[in-house]
């Protein structure tokens, strides 16, 4: 009975998450490239929550006695993968951001130089 309840809750949460993701895409607040990760992990979670045998197989495989706990483990794994991905994205953004700032500083100096030349004549 408890097991069924966990399944239901997980399915509900998964569906709400999916709905939220679609809503964000529709409003153009989420880039497509980040959608794949979210949909894949939500889909995986839903699949395992609905398909009981899969959940039990997975639980057995990673050595969990109480199969529904496997859902949490899976959710945590997905969360970690997404967070790691974000760290990569942030690193990339930081690099680009630095490059941009440096470019601005160099261009500004060039501009000042040009202005000085212009007004001298």
């Amino acid at each position: 009975m408890m097991q069924l309840r966990v399944q239901i809750v997980t399915v509900l949460v998964g569906l709400v998450l999916l709905g939220l993701i679609f809503q964000l895409i529709r409003k153009n607040r989420l880039l497509e490239r980040y959608v794949i990760l979210w949909i894949a992990s939500t889909g995986l979670l839903l699949a395992v929550a609905i398909w009981k045998q899969l959940m039990e197989k997975f639980a057995q495989f990673i050595g969990i006695y109480y199969p529904p706990s496997a859902l949490f483990v899976l959710a945590i794994f997905c969360g970690m993968a997404i967070i790691l991905h974000f760290s990569v994205v942030i690193s990339q953004l930081t690099k680009q951001n630095h490059k941009l700032a440096q470019e601005v500083a160099l261009l500004q100096a060039d501009l000042k130089n040009l202005e000085a030349k212009l007004y001298k004549k």
């Binding site: 500083a105 160099l106 130089n113």
Partner: protein, 237 residues
Amino acid sequence: MKKRADILAIVPALNEEKAIGHVIKEIKTLDVPIDVVVIDDGSDDCTADAAQKTGTTVLSLPYNLGIGGAVQTGFQYAVQHGYQKAVQVDGDGQHIPKEIPLLLQAMDNQNVDVVIGSRFLGKGDFVSSAPRRMGIRIFQGVNSLFLKQKITDNTSGFRAYNQRAIAFLAEYYPHDYPEPESVILLKKNGFTMTEIPVHMRQREHGQSSISAFRAVYYMIKVLLAIFVGMFKKQIKR
């Protein structure tokens, strides 16, 4: 400013309005002809104005990038204007501009890409606490282990680079702990380096970015950065 020399002094500065003017003046009165570029790393005070007053080119970063990002901007400027050598001199006055020619001479005489001015080689007027000395020892040990060359002062920011090194660093200068990381990076990518003994002054104004308690934490982070650096792939050029 017009390019007058083949050597560029890269002076990163963060909130050094009191010290910067003096540093620039000292560099400009050297016998060696040398251009100066100051990189204002998003200072809150009038560092940029103070530098500009001396007739120096100032690159003003729109926000603080940290010392690594600032120095790299200097390398990019050097590449853009075709400088053959660059000397990195801190804007806080701790490095002694009179010793710049020593760095440059060592580069020519020993035919290396990079020359580092070391506080811990010989001259011995550097006083520091016991834990700090231990930290320095650890750095030296780790460096010798990885580099197969003794580098005594890998946190020194008083350095000279040749054109090859400048071009490389304009592209790949590390941002988090640039001094120790760049030693590893350069070595790994086939650049040669040497150290010469220099003096360093106690800071004229402001406070060092490293306080006593944070030193240990800083060391752990730098060591981690060095280890990570060792595992990085060689950059294909």
